[in-house]
């Protein structure tokens, strides 16, 4: 296959010197049509072959939608049969489908190692990072959909603006009153305190928790588990002073803050970083009570 292609291109470049530009253009267009036909044929053959060799393929049902393109404005599911190899993840399968069958298949992804948080999707009915999900752990057909409760931009891509806004609403940055003297002096932190905040610092902003939360689905202003967890990270850090802690608790115990949480644990269940979100929210509720704030 590859030699065939390169032969063609060789011909092309040597011939083009003598030819007039329009003739070359025409010839190229012809080649292109031919190639497109071949590619379509190959694709069909591939799919058919893959579908036949049953135990070696995975069947994916993938959500498709594009607001702009005629024929894709109506949401639908596309079927892809992807050849399987050991260790293959849902993301690998999506990439294979895109690169081999349909280059318009659209999804976010980058690191392939569960650290950039960009490929959280709804796979077989729950929020997961596709790169971290082995196909072999799933039942067929594998249904891949965009994260629920967020606006779909295209195919598997959702709008995360609202999620980011909530993250930023909790003043997500360290604020300390007493920086040590001297440029090279550290603000000491006990090991215990680091351990206490450690899990909360692992969040990769994937949005899975927010998407799984019934409360967030019904109350657009609810800060949501990820943002509250972000606030936990600073509230519990001993290096931030008491007054900062009060200020944070005020943000947290407002009407759409911690008290909205009904401890359903769905966020904790889906978090790919195993952050004990519900526990963190509960702990902040206790802190709020301790500090005698009003509650709703």
């Amino acid at each position: 296959m590859s030699t065939q292609v390169s032969d063609q291109t060789d011909d092309e470049s040597s011939a083009s010197e003598a030819e007039t530009a329009p003739a070359a253009q025409q010839r190229r267009m012809e080649k292109k049509r031919q190639r497109a036909a071949e590619a379509a044929e190959k694709r069909q053959a591939d799919e058919a072959e893959a579908a036949l060799a049953d135990e070696e393929t995975y069947h994916l049902k993938v959500f498709r939608y594009d607001p702009e393109i005629e024929g894709k404005k109506e949401p639908r599911f596309d079927d892809f049969h992807v050849p399987y190899h050991k260790g293959m993840t849902v993301l690998d399968a999506l990439m294979y489908a895109r690169d081999t069958y349909d280059s318009s298949l659209t999804f976010r992804h980058s690191c392939r190692q569960a650290i950039c948080g960009s490929d959280a999707m709804f796979v077989n009915g729950s929020q997961r990072l596709c790169c971290k999900t082995q196909l072999s752990d799933l039942e067929e057909p594998v249904r891949v959909e965009p994260l629920p409760h967020a606006e779909v931009v295209k195919d598997l891509v959702v709008d995360l603006e609202h999620f980011y806004d909530q993250m930023e609403a909790v003043e997500p940055y360290f604020q300390t009153n007493d920086l040590p003297e001297g440029e090279l002096e550290e603000q000491r932190q006990s090991r215990e305190n680091r351990e206490k905040v450690k899990m909360s610092t692992r969040c990769i902003w994937c949005g899975a928790c927010m998407s799984s939360c019934n409360i967030a689905a019904g109350d657009n202003e609810y800060l949501g588990p990820a943002a509250i967890n972000k606030a936990y990270r600073f509230t519990m850090d001993e290096r931030e002073g008491e007054d900062m802690k009060q200020q944070r608790l005020e943000i947290l115990e407002q009407e759409h803050g911690v008290w909205r949480c009904q401890t359903q644990f769905s966020c904790t269940t889906v978090c790919p970083k195993d952050i004990p979100l519900t526990e963190h929210i509960q702990e902040l509720k206790r802190e709020a009570v301790k500090s005698n704030l009003k509650f709703w």
């Binding site: 999804f107 690191c111 190692q113 891509v157 940055y173 300390t176 000491r188 006990s190």
Partner: protein, 614 residues
């Protein structure tokens, strides 16, 4: 058209630090990034960040180790700047609340790392990069710095004087991924490229899918020289199906490498009789590939890394995340089975030529982070030295672009003084193929009309980029980028990998040439303006082709064995002839090769090359 004083392209560690610095200096700064900042690949760094913080350590020792690690191909002024500045930068992060691991006394922890004479690698568990990226993004939010996220920068707006060093960068052209709109961004004071690595030139890499070397390729085509591109670091323990990194920590704790016959080859075959599995990254990578090439690999592809004998308790205590990685990405339970591993592309030592202030030879154009070559890593980077590079040189580029006086740089950029021309015999003409009318739009950076003002340059560049995008979209039945990209990636992995020999390098150049020709007819099947990743990957593929060629040309011309660069025909380091940097300039669509000497003169001493012994 948007307008700011300083525009930073990229929001990884280098970009974020640059933006904070520029704002501190009073500039109106904005970041333009194709990914939301927290999605940047800096988040993947595991091991740690080097800084001489403790009694008994000194910046001089850090500088010395770095120079030695570089195999004497780093520039002393840049290395000394790195070593001197990283303590204050790391403590700055600490003051911003970064969750470093802690000692009993509450100070930050440090651990030993390969090639360091003191345990100066400061870390946050095995997620140092994640903590660093998020801490810096928090500071960005605090300062209200503007971010255009999911904006893909397509090109630079650079004036067109004959000599690159007379040119000026006036801004960039961005593509809004969500809407498909193309807009100019004018930078009154400077553009800082912080676009990260180029791992996607290879088909097996620890780098993210987005690491396509865009900034390096853009700067190169705008006339900024790129430096030492042949030096690519390969990491010996990556998972075969994804390239996910299995940290050196496994071998550090006593993990053992086996070939298919179950032999512990690092000792039995004598690759590193003293150090075994703990030999340096390049040595272990070569050993593994030797095994595979000699038919002793598993499935002709990889070897086994076994840690079962360490016992469940110790594994869970110290290497728990490795268990997750093996299970999630390879489907292997590392308590029960050995893990499959093979070498993978990991880091690009080369990049856009800059001085210690992050400045390129084009005025107003800066680069920092992995896309830049400030020349601190030379031919081999020490683990833990990339992260300090981001913050040290990111900050300097930010300050300098915003007008702070950092003093005269000692490293020179562009063809100045003691450069010497180079030549290399190639089987095919490298560089752009005869551009057809449509593709032409993307090639020419300089487009006539001196006497244009800054806004007009940005407008022109925007028009050009728009035409280019239109022409790609118009060709909806053209070649698919994925195919072309895969061919380049495979060729690079086969021919320009850990082992390099002349015929193979030449074959790679032929393959790349073929890819260029195929690319003449590349097209975009997806016709949507909304989130068109088909289009963006097509644009990235062009960058991959240019950088693959640059790496290969550098590898072909450098006739010696230095650091990560192994040549079959030349098995010795050759200080007599090769204490110099390889540079490539994009000259009317073809790469021009030249050299400049390495600066071994430090502040108070000269670094004398010593034999590298394993």
């Amino acid at each position: 058209m948007y307008e700011h004083d300083v525009i930073v392209v990229g929001a990884g560690g280098a970009g974020l630090r640059a933006a904070i610095a520029a704002q501190e200096e009073g500039a109106d700064v904005a970041i333009v990034s194709k990914l939301h900042p927290v999605r940047s690949h800096t988040g993947a760094a595991e091991g740690g960040i080097n800084a001489a913080l403790r009694e008994g350590d000194s910046w001089e020792d850090h500088a010395y180790d770095t120079m030695k690690g570089s195999d004497y191909l780093g520039d002393a002024p840049a290395i000394e700047t790195l070593a001197k500045t990283s303590p204050e930068e790391v403590i700055q992060l600490e003051h911003w609340g970064m969750a470093f691991s802690r000692e009993e006394d509450g100070r930050v922890s440090q651990r030993p790392f390969g090639g360091l004479s003191f345990p100066r690698t400061t870390y946050a568990g095995a997620e140092t990069g994640h903590q660093l990226l998020h801490t810096m993004y928090e500071q960005l939010v605090k300062r209200g710095i503007e971010v255009y996220d999911e904006w893909h920068v397509l090109d630079l707006a650079v004036s067109d004087e004959e000599a690159p060093k007379d040119r000026t960068c006036h801004g960039v052209v961005g593509y809004d991924v969500q809407s498909g709109n193309i807009e100019g961004f004018r930078a009154r004071d400077g553009v800082i490229l912080a676009t990260g690595g180029l791992g996607q030139v290879y088909d097996h890499t620890t780098n993210a899918v987005s690491n396509t070397g865009d900034g390096v390729a853009m700067a190169y085509r705008a006339g900024a020289p790129i430096e030492d591109m042949e030096f690519i670091q390969f990491h010996p323990t990556t998972l075969p199906s994804t390239g996910v990194l299995i940290s050196e920590g496994v071998r550090g704790e006593g993990g053992i490498l086996y070939n298919e016959a179950g032999e512990r080859f690092m000792f039995e075959y004598g690759y590193a009789s003293n150090d075994g599995e703990l030999a340096s990254r390049d040595v272990v990578s070569r050993a593994e590939l030797n095994e595979v090439n000699a038919g002793r690999g598993i499935e002709d592809e990889y070897v086994h890394l076994d840690m079962r004998h360490l016992g469940e308790e110790r594994i869970i205590d110290r290497l728990e995340n490795i268990l997750h990685l093996a299970a999630d990405f390879e489907g292997v339970d590392a308590l029960e089975e050995p893990m499959p591993v093979k070498p993978g592309q990991h880091y690009a030592m080369g990049g856009i030529e800059t001085d210690e202030n992050g400045e390129t030879c084009i005025s107003g154009l800066y680069a920092a982070g992995e896309c830049a070559c400030a020349s601190v890593h030379g031919s081999n980077r020490l683990g833990g030295n990339a992260l300090p590079e981001l913050i040290v040189f990111g900050a300097r580029a930010g300050y300098h672009a915003a007008g702070r006086d950092l003093g005269e740089a000692e490293v020179t950029t562009g063809k100045r003084g003691d450069w010497e021309p180079g030549e290399v015999e190639t089987p095919v003409e490298p560089g752009a193929v005869e551009p057809d009318v449509e593709a032409d739009a993307s090639d020419a950076v300089a487009d006539g009309g001196s006497g244009l003002d800054s806004e007009e340059f940005v407008e022109r560049a925007t028009e050009r980029a728009t035409e280019h995008v239109e022409s790609l979209l118009a060709n909806d039945e053209g070649r698919n980028h994925a195919e072309i990209r895969a061919e380049v990636q495979q060729s690079m992995t086969e021919q320009v990998n850990v082992f390099r020999e002349e015929d193979a390098l030449k074959q790679a150049l032929r393959d790349i040439r073929e890819a260029r020709e195929a690319y003449q007819d590349v097209g975009v099947a997806d016709q949507s303006r909304t989130f068109n990743t088909d289009l963006l990957q097509t644009i990235e593929t062009r960058n991959i082709i240019d950088l693959a060629e640059a790496i290969t040309l550098g590898a072909l011309v450098r006739e010696e064995f230095r650091g990560a660069h192994w040549r079959q025909e030349y098995q010795e380091r050759d200080d007599e002839n090769w204490l110099k940097h390889t540079l490539l300039s994009w000259n009317d669509g073809s790469p021009e090769l030249w050299f400049k000497p390495v600066i071994l003169e430090g502040e108070e001493k000269r670094y004398e090359p010593k034999i590298r012994s394993y």
